[in-house]
Amino acid sequence: MGNLLQQMLVGSVTSLKIFALTLLFSLPLGMLVAKGRMSKNPILSNLVNVYIMIMRGTPLILQLLFVYFAPYYIFGSSYDRFTAVIVGFVINYAAYFAEIYRGGVQSIPVGQYEASLVLGFTKTHTFTHVVAPQVVKRIIPAMGNEVITLVKDTALAQTIGVAELFRVAQNASARQFSTMPIFIAGVFYFLMNAVVSRSFDLLEKKLNYYH
């Protein structure tokens, strides 16, 4: 039992690594994607839209397989499995985050931009000091949803052979002829997400000083 928990903790560390690295890269990448999607250049915005449609319209599991195996067919070799998982997750989540950002930016009343303009703010200042802080507040609930989903999606990394928490639990389950390890894994995911939800609740509360 002790051995099992130890293995599951190791698996959890892999899951958390996937989680953290995905956020680290997809949160900023999503901003670029959102910027492209809102671009006045129709070629760029359509191209970005196609990217978003593919990322949101096909299963993440398929995207992971594609990201890992496509280079074999094209170049004859691929990067290591873990890198492939990160690449797959990042490009998928960036698409979702981009749409959340876009929704947030477009929900800012035009009056906020007009007031900024009349007061002589530069475009950058308007974005960083007027728009962005208000967007952050508005998108927190949607981001919370997405980040919670990410915790659970890390289980898909096993499709290309990365031994994360769920894979470890399944292996243990097979060895012990028992479903117990899988249920324990469920508790692990639940606890991780309890931390995530709590963090988002706190953040929401912190930004509650204005409507």
Binding site: E114, V118, G120, V130
Partner: protein
């Protein structure tokens, strides 16, 4: 001294003429009211003046700086960036819906542009802001957020925010249209006090009695044109155009 001069200003939305050749000028210390029915182009005129809308023809000169001109061939030429910025800062605008920055405290709403645009120090900006808040009767509200204020208080903050940049002209775009009669009176008093201090102002308003009371000059607009212009006594007391008469009659009936 002429501080704003607008000549043959034209603006179209999707081929539909909203301003069809507006010319007027404003002298320092003068209060000009613009009245007229909804859709007559009053607000669009202010928005063109404050660079929120690009013009389609005509010229605007503010503080002897040419903001925009139109060549004989009808090509609209805006001034360089720096001139546009100077002109922008010499015209303050108070919006109908206040447009305060909802995530900033009252004090920061008023200091932000002073620090970022005029380069004033934080302490100087705060001093200016506090002085203006005192003038607006809101000295205890500096730490409040806009959502905690009444509409009238929000509008007073937005007036303070515009005044903090020392504009040569303060423009009001229907500043009381979003307020109930009590709060309206509150804002009208603030504008009246500014008029007493000889602040140069352009006020787009539906408050006829107020326009009559504070203005040095009144412009009546209809369908993108200036129909009548003159002293309040003349425009309200003895309107020449049948269109103006009809419009003012409506108000007197109320």
């Amino acid at each position: 001294m002429e501080i704003v001069s607008v000549t043959d200003l034209k603006k179209e939305f999707d081929g539909l003429g909203v301003l069809k050749g507006i010319s007027f000028s404003l002298n320092k210390g003068e209060v000009l009211s613009i009245i007229g029915p909804s859709g007559s182009g009053k607000s669009t005129l202010l928005r063109c003046l404050t660079q929120l809308e690009p013009v389609d023809g005509g010229s605007i000169v503010v503080n002897s700086k040419t903001m925009v001109t139109t060549t004989e061939e009808g090509k609209v030429r805006y001034a360089d960036k720096q001139t546009l910025k100077d002109v922008r800062l010499s015209l303050g605008l108070v919006f109908q819906s206040f447009n305060l920055f909802t995530h900033m405290s009252v004090l920061r709403n008023i200091t932000e542009a002073q620090m970022h645009v005029l380069g004033r120090s934080k302490s100087e900006a705060q001093q200016v802001a506090k002085e203006l808040l005192r003038k607006m009767g809101l000295e205890e509200k500096e730490k409040a957020y806009p959502c905690q204020l009444s509409g009238g208080q929000q509008q007073r903050v937005s007036i303070a925010r515009a005044l903090a940049l020392n504009p040569a002209v303060l423009c009001f775009d229907e500043p009381t249209s979003a307020l109930d009669p009590e709060l309206t009176a509150e804002i009208l008093k603030v504008i009246k006090d500014l008029a007493k201090e000889k602040m140069t102002m352009i006020v787009v308003t539906h408050e006829m009695a107020f326009a009559r009371d504070i203005s040095d000059r009144v412009i009546f607009m209809d369908d993108g044109l200036i129909v009548e212009e003159g002293s309040p006594e003349k425009v309200f007391g003895d309107p020449q155009s049948p269109r103006t008469k009809r419009f003012l009659n409506r108000y007197e009936q109320d």
